[in-house]
Symmetry: C2
Subunit: 570 residues, 2 copies
Amino acid sequence: MAAEPTAHQLIAQHRPTLDQALEAIRTRAYWSPHPEHPKAYGENGSLGMAEGKAAFDALLGTRLDLGQPGTDDWVGGEVSPYGIELGVTYPHADIDTLLPAMRAGQRAWRDAGAEIRAVVCLEILKRISDRTHEFAHAVMHTSGQAFMMAFQAGGPHAQDRGLEAVAYAYAEQVRTPDTAEWSKPQGKRDPLALTKQFTPVPRGIALMIGCNTFPTWNGYPGLFASLATGNAVLVKPHPRAVLPLALTVQVAREVLAGAGFDPNLVALAAERPGEGIAKTLATRPEIRIVDYTGSTAFGDWLEANARQAQVYTEKAGVNTVIVESTADYKGMLSNLAFSLSLYSGQMCTTPQNLLIPREGISTDEGHKSYDEVTADLAKSVGGLLGDDARANALLGAIVNPDVKARLEAAAGLGEVALPSRQIENPEFPGAVVRSPLIVKLDGARKYWENGGSDDEAAYMSECFGPVSFAVAVDSAADAVALLRRTTRDKGAMTVGAYTTDEAFEREVQEACLEECAQLSLNLTGGVYVNQTAAFSDFHGSGGNGAANAALCDGAFVANRFRVIEVRREA
Amino acid sequence: MAAEPTAHQLIAQHRPTLDQALEAIRTRAYWSPHPEHPKAYGENGSLGMAEGKAAFDALLGTRLDLGQPGTDDWVGGEVSPYGIELGVTYPHADIDTLLPAMRAGQRAWRDAGAEIRAVVCLEILKRISDRTHEFAHAVMHTSGQAFMMAFQAGGPHAQDRGLEAVAYAYAEQVRTPDTAEWSKPQGKRDPLALTKQFTPVPRGIALMIGCNTFPTWNGYPGLFASLATGNAVLVKPHPRAVLPLALTVQVAREVLAGAGFDPNLVALAAERPGEGIAKTLATRPEIRIVDYTGSTAFGDWLEANARQAQVYTEKAGVNTVIVESTADYKGMLSNLAFSLSLYSGQMCTTPQNLLIPREGISTDEGHKSYDEVTADLAKSVGGLLGDDARANALLGAIVNPDVKARLEAAAGLGEVALPSRQIENPEFPGAVVRSPLIVKLDGARKYWENGGSDDEAAYMSECFGPVSFAVAVDSAADAVALLRRTTRDKGAMTVGAYTTDEAFEREVQEACLEECAQLSLNLTGGVYVNQTAAFSDFHGSGGNGAANAALCDGAFVANRFRVIEVRREA
């Protein structure tokens, strides 16, 4: 086994990547150091396809001993949405032992400075990247994502988001110089002169609460933003998606120790079934930062109760696409069909409400009535998923029984434009695979301006899963009004719109600027409203109810540390 | 009257200043565009000493009509701490009319972009700077600061803090480019290509709640940070310190209108006696940002209740100076004497607890016992303030009867090392002028580790005003332990220390880094622990209980706006 690289070797190795990341967040042009193609792995120390699978298989049924202090038990019980039991057990921590142990290494980590912290984080990401194939299976068998998506979103894209957070954290910390000489003229007298030292100091221990559907993609920004700013990080995974984050913690601990830091700067808090330790942890005085992705109810609880901490939440929202007109009817339909199908709509960014004028829309194929648009979209989804192998590759599996139950109930909400289809997965017979359901609803202004309707109750709630609503609105203007209302009352991670009318486009843009929602216009090709690219796209805005932070920007990192000044007479 | 400058003329005029400010916050070297000397004013359109006084005198007894919509009454009743009634009345607003009017101009202000907003803010500051002499009297006769301090802290230093906030706000907004071309390679296929637009959007209306003692210095950072990031700003002054902020609002409205924007982007919310409108305003849904300086009780209330807003608070703290040893005993005593005396200790940064080892300290003048240090400090303060004219020029007036009552009660807390002296002000016979009180207390660890003592109850509370405690501690190590405990439990805006021992200096530094407090070491000359300079020093850390934000850093501005992205296929 080769000797662990020193901090200075890590700088030599990773500083060019850090500089490229810093440049990327300035220009927001395309950039990624993490290959998207599975075949790009297998050389230069990274695991290839077969090796990654073997590494994952070797994990099954084992105890993942992270060497954490205060381990009082071993817990686990993940069952893959594809039906297999993972059988991996993880350390259960005595928090009163673990939290103090996590503080022990903080001084050395703080004193290392922003650059060394950044390159240590980059080394963690590099080693995770080398194991992307192994992580892909871990993400697939906890989130239910299909393999290719688990590979890309759970691998390089998540690593990109982690690296982006490191770049923002580094940039923020070096805005203030390490030292300054301050000399204030005093007329004929000697100037007043001070020497000033500035040190970024961490807030304390950060708690990252992981989610079921995107354990790495949603988890890495907070984890790396906190670690890069000098905090210790306690990772509390979703009980159904422990493995990808436990492996992440394992890698982080190895790299920290190898670089001469205390591995307890990163630790895992796995829990017993029903233990609900997130509430206990989030309100501990040692916890000064919380990152959370999940339900609005618990996100709101954290914001209200974890008052000793900076709380960053991504919660539920209701995403809208307005269909007003298009110059590429087929492209629009296929783009939307893909958006609705990807990972069975189990993305916080998947469109839910498709607002379509009741009298129809103009297209390059002539006028299309509301019923035609809806039927054509249903047909497009049906075509996309007609082949079972392709359907399995796009849809993945339903992540948990709640989503399945919600999907089944949603069929009763209105006229079904496209029923959800049950699809067999020959490789994993236990997988619950379902195609998207599209339900027609009435979004007439007279209802939502006068106390609502059953339809309104449906489309004004997040129905997380493969469910979307084709909502007939009285006019394009009403679509914008309903978009505003939905975003204001329920939040939105994404908004899409299709229009060939410049004035209408400006109206939609204005609505998104005022309601603070990220807008994709007229997507008809290979980019989808539910996908964002690190270093270029913001994920969420942090300005509407769906999330109080955006991935990633200055606000996401600036309050994870403070700058302490020591001044003396020069 | 000359024509109002256009936005482009403002760029030509102010961009160089903005660039210098941006450079200053990067290097943190000394810089200020606002002259400190009263004689520097009176030319190039600025008011000279006599003109400023005349302008202030002309305001007395008048109605300050700001031309605000929804004015339903005229209110006022400021009485100067120097005894004169100002007799100025201000618009009282019907909030349900004023708040909607403040939103009307937000779109144009947002669309103007970061640079034009910055130079409009700089023009506001320039016109305020030109009236520094007038503002000095307004600050003096509301805060009770002596003229020279009101002139400098209320004038150029406050303007510096405002400009610093504009610079941070500008820098933060331009971190993301206006547009980006994103092109992602797809192997042999055409790349995926998107055009992206990024727009900084405001959160909404910001509420700036002013304080009695530093209406402009503490008010300008929040006001200008919010305005420069595109928000409208409602200014709710302290009822005893309305005039400086009302004049500020007046200038801002003039400049906004002159530059073609809606003057209602900045408005005043003066209140009737006892009306307590801050609570009502702070929880209005339109209010999305709150800046507050004042009591811990109300700051905590705002943080807990104004949940729809980003809340930035500066509250009370207990500031410590550790006296362990010194190589310049006289310099230390005179520096501390000045710190305790300036504005009668009515600064959030004034030292309160002077921790002195019971067995005394080593100095360049030999060993000094605790009693000697205390007596010599008392003598130094006495000497500094021996001359009544000089005392008046340093102390200013007691800002309100609460401070006077607290001072009188504090004399009963322990042995008095230096009694507070009543000083006549021949120019303003109504002024309540008092020299600092120093009380000796016992800070033995056995008390504060075992349930406290009356002495502990005294030094562990903020006693705002000209009161400090010479606290005898058992050892230098105990001083650090008490510093840590005080900062952790009560917060601190400043920490000072005197020591010639390098190991002890490191101990104090480590305590400040861990407890997140700003440290001044061995100040013996013309810089004082209670003074911070914009562009170089941070005011507070935002990391202990005294304040949740620092003036000024990225975190202070980054969450006052969000960035909205609109993306389309290229």
